[in-house]
Amino acid sequence: MEEKIDLSRVYGPSDDVVVREIEGEIVIVPLTSGIGDLEDELFTLNETGRDIWSRIDGSRPLGAVIEDLAKDYDAPDGLVRRDVVGILQELLERRMIVERD
């Protein structure tokens, strides 16, 4: 099911997962039921995913996150937006990220 991404909204990590940084890897461990498909699954993020994840911290709107990333990466806004929306879509579907009030 596709989630609607709103750049003016604030998103942050869900309380349904525990996020750990171990030996340079971000490891997302499901806490409550229904996050993973199997009982022994964990999740890691690729390099881009890690950087995006660290900025989706529930403190500012998604649009501001994208602007910062575009500056840091010296990349076109459109490309950054595509990546951020892509990862957010995936994390929202997995209930690892939630929309904050």
Binding site: E23, T32, D40, E41, L42, L45, T48, V80, R94
Partner: protein, 397 residues
């Protein structure tokens, strides 16, 4: 920036999780208590559920929680909670939830007799991320309670399994081959396969440890319950020759003899164990005084980075070990290790005849040895084993 797939699913423990360095500690095994509400014939651990002295000496939930914090800080991903019967502890839920909130996966070993509706709901809502491992000691009330020597344990176990199943908590069933349950293996497997929530295949405990940790004379009883080599082979063959083929292949792939090395079971840093009183060990079975680190007087980090590596570097001094185990090419089959040596002899490096006999029976069945031949007398035994990987089996005589 460019990304197509951002989130990668990994099976926990997958080596590919770590790109460069691995965590200092991958898994921590915790015996929350030696006490158990069963009194199984073959158990090397259990003390009575009401043992006041044991209970008073056990670490509190607060201490376990601090240790779990330390373990998570060292990168630990998995904690095994076992006993005795860990659910005897009134604070089990508190310890369990603390581990899960730290992002640890929990392997729970239990006899399921103390699973309550509340605990089943907790395990449903905050799943352990590992199938609960349930020891089931018989297909019938008579056989089960002949093993557990606890009236009502059969019904209680089934009630607990039912609660796990109703709540969608994944579990595996483990049996034990003992005189009262001989001949029940096929039936237990079929019954377990029919249970809602059951996952994986049913395994069976067959080669029991002696009870050196308590020194109460029960070891003689346990020794009398153990299978001999041929019986073990026959049991393993009950589903065909697959197990024997695996032994042959495994032996061929397990490298050369041990030499004077004692610890050959795990890579350094992979895991550690802690007894109910806060003493860290290389594994749950090894309580030799020279192989125990008191966490109350140190730290988990020091134990894992200093004490255990030093311990794992220990070399054998027993001439019999060096002559036999040190030259034996059946390393991949034999259960000889410091924990077994300690359980049988109180030492770290004495050959254990029982496990030696089992490994030799396996090797005969796998066509790696002739009956009566001793593996340590075989020149180029590793080459023999490697040469027979995937080969047609030689029938035992």
């Amino acid at each position: 920036m460019s990304a197509i797939s951002y989130v990668r699913k990994v099976v926990a423990g997958e080596a590919g999780l770590w790109k460069s360095s691995k965590p200092i500690l991958a898994r921590l095994d915790i015996e929350l208590t030696d006490r158990c509400n069963n009194n199984c014939l073959h158990c090397s651990v259990n003390l009575p559920a009401g043992d006041v002295e044991a209970r008073a000496s056990e670490w509190t939930a607060a201490r376990w929680k601090t240790l779990l914090d330390e373990a998570a800080g060292l990168g630990c991903l998995v904690v095994r909670l076992t006993g005795g019967e860990p659910l005897l502890r009134a604070d089990f839920e508190e310890i369990y939830l603390h581990a899960r909130r730290l992002g640890l996966r929990v392997m729970l070993f239990t006899n399921a007799t103390l699973v309550t509706p509340r605990l089943a709901r907790v395990l449903r809502d905050v799943p352990p991320l590992e199938a609960v491992e349930v020891s089931v000691y018989g297909l019938t009330e008579k056989s089960c309670e002949a093993v557990t020597r606890a009236r009502g344990s059969f019904a209680a176990c089934r009630r607990g399994l039912g609660l796990l199943g109703e709540n969608g908590v994944a579990f595996t069933v483990k049996g034990a081959v003992l005189p009262p349950t001989r001949g029940e293996a096929d039936g237990l497997e079929a019954w377990a396969a029919s249970l809602p929530g059951r996952t994986g295949s049913t395994s069976f405990a067959t080669l029991f440890d002696l009870r050196s940790r308590h020194g109460d004379g029960k070891s003689a009883l346990i020794a009398g319950l153990r299978m001999g080599g041929d019986e073990f082979v026959d049991f393993s063959r009950r589903r065909g020759e697959g197990a024997v083929d695996e032994w042959r292949d495994f032996c061929g792939r397990s490298g050369g003899a041990r030499g004077d090395r004692l610890f050959t079971c795990l890579p350094a840093g992979a895991s550690a164990a802690v007894d109910p009183y806060g003493r860290l060990q290389h594994c749950l079975g090894l309580r030799h005084p020279d192989a125990v680190y008191d966490l109350a007087a140190g730290s988990l980090r020091e134990a894992v980075t200093g004490f255990l590596p030093r311990l794992r570097g220990t070399r054998a001094s027993d001439p019999a070990y060096r002559e036999r185990c040190g030259r034996c090419f059946l390393k991949g089959l034999c259960e000889q290790c410091p924990a077994k040596s300690w359980a049988e002899h109180g030492t770290l490096d004495t050959p254990v005849e029982y496990f030696c006999g089992i490994a030799h029976a396996q090797a005969v069945a796998a066509g790696l040895l002739d009956r009566g031949e001793k593996a340590w007398t075989v020149r180029d035994g590793s080459k023999r084993a490697k040469g027979r990987i995937g080969s047609w089996r030689k029938r035992s005589i």
